[in-house]
Amino acid sequence: METIAECIENIIGAPVHMLEDLDEPMEAFVEKRNQWDSSVILRALIDMAPPDALRVLGVTSRDLCVPVLTFVFGQAQLDGLVSIISTARLKPEFYGLSASPDLTLERACKESIHELGHTFGLVHCGDRSCAMSLSTHVGDVDIKKAEFCRGCRSFLRDRVTAALADESRPGREKQL
């Protein structure tokens, strides 16, 4: 977790506070798919977000999905407050390969800044090496770097600066 926090502070440029571990809300569990609905978890994150938090990122080892898709690596509220990533499918073990905590961590960093990027209004980027490029497969995650391309970076910098300056902490009223 510390590594992810460090990566976010470096790349996004905002201080990170870590909260106590939480349990995923049981209503997010989709029994017949044996997965967890990330939209439901995001809603719970909105409810528990500290009032002074700029953005919230949840990290879970549960396998996430949304109703219309077989799985997601993560999900975010576009231009919103909350985001989540799952390490379930970032682990080589998931694909029958030998475990590699370093690789898993590296992938988790990339997906974390990707989802946080969405909360600052970034959409998918056509540059395959940019963290904002869409990954539908771990292979895609490995192609991209744990940083943004120039275009995404400058967009993000403006948004983060504006968000840090704004005391009202908007985005909370946004519904999922």
């Binding site: 939209s39 949304v66 109703p67 219309v68 077989t70 799985f71 959409v123 998918h124």
Partner: protein, 448 residues
Amino acid sequence: MWKILVVDDELIMRESLAAWLMEDGYTVDTAASGQEGVELAKKTEYTIYFVDLKMPGIDGIETMTQIHKLHPDAAVIIITAFATVDTAITAMKEGAQEYVVKPCSPQEISLIVERIIHLENLERENKILRKKLNDRYTFHDIISKNPKMHELFALVNDVASLKSTVLIQGESGTGKDLIAKAIHQSSDRSEQRYVAISCAALAETLLESELFGHERGAFTGAVNQSKGKFETADGGTLFLDEIGGISPKLQVDLLRVLQERSFYRVGGSKEVSVNVRVIAATNADLMTAVRDGSFREDLYYRLNVINIHIPPLRDRLEDIPLLVRHFIERISFELGKSVSGVTDGAIARLMNHQWPGNVRELENSIERAIVTCHDGVLTEESLSFLDGDQGEEEGAMIPGDMSLADLELRAIKATLGRTSGNVKEAASILGIDRSTLYDKLKRYNLRR
């Protein structure tokens, strides 16, 4: 900006798909029913429609059908929770672009969307490219890439705003009307009226009153004062088409207006002044007419201040493919027939033809070919009616016992056949006035 519409009766389905597509940068609208989806499609044209198959009210297939009525090229993707081969086949047969089963893999959706957007991009680029090409070869609706024609377009631009009279010469169907309009539109008179009159269509006295108007009681039937074309066109442009055959008296009247810029209405004594730009056109060789005395030399020089000679189509064969494509696009749209192209063989056949009726004849031939075309492509076969003119050439071999009158009769019959009985067209192909042709029809006891 690409727009996507998601139609699904299940809230969590449409919201999760919409959210995911929005992360991809698309503008996404959602609808909770087929009806609502169709209503949205009436207001906005989306690039992609995701439509759930099973919905209360109108189902996915019916929703797709209605969307296709509004936007025939819309990409509709049918989504369903119940995968059966049958529904998949039905969906595709009814025109779905794709068929996906929920939950679907993110990769599948992203590939489908990417592919459609890629095609859409190509389509847009093609449209822009086609427009650019067309613009390069188009001058006020006149299509040509022939250098002589381009010199002519430049001349039109240069002289458009002058007041000088223009004489346009060229065989029938070469585009004299179009050039006259182009001159008007490029001139500083373009906001004013453009009035056209065909001098061959009317008998002398009628033409006189058409041109200059008449006072009340000027002749039997003249119950009211009436303005002529010269007055109607005041401030603008008057196009005198088929000027070649006007009577000696009218030639004098015309000469006077061109010199004095004023005239008398028929039966009137008050001089009327006008500011009119005159453009005249003829398919006859006016110089020859001057030499044989049927056309006044002074009028000829008055009219011929600026001379524009349009080359016949057979001297600019390179325009045929361009014109063919243009006519196919326009006419198939007008007739509501889908014709997507033309074979090389057909183009070759068209470039081999002599085109005595020039672009008008080409236009009519394309129309005829489109009407009889069944598989969406114009081929040599769909142009087989053109072979008639080879036969005609043989027929033009003159038997020993043939009189000039017989020959004339044969020429008239053949030409009327080719123009499907259109006298105006036949007259211009034959190079005579329409009234002259009517006389001949009467004389030979021919019916149209």
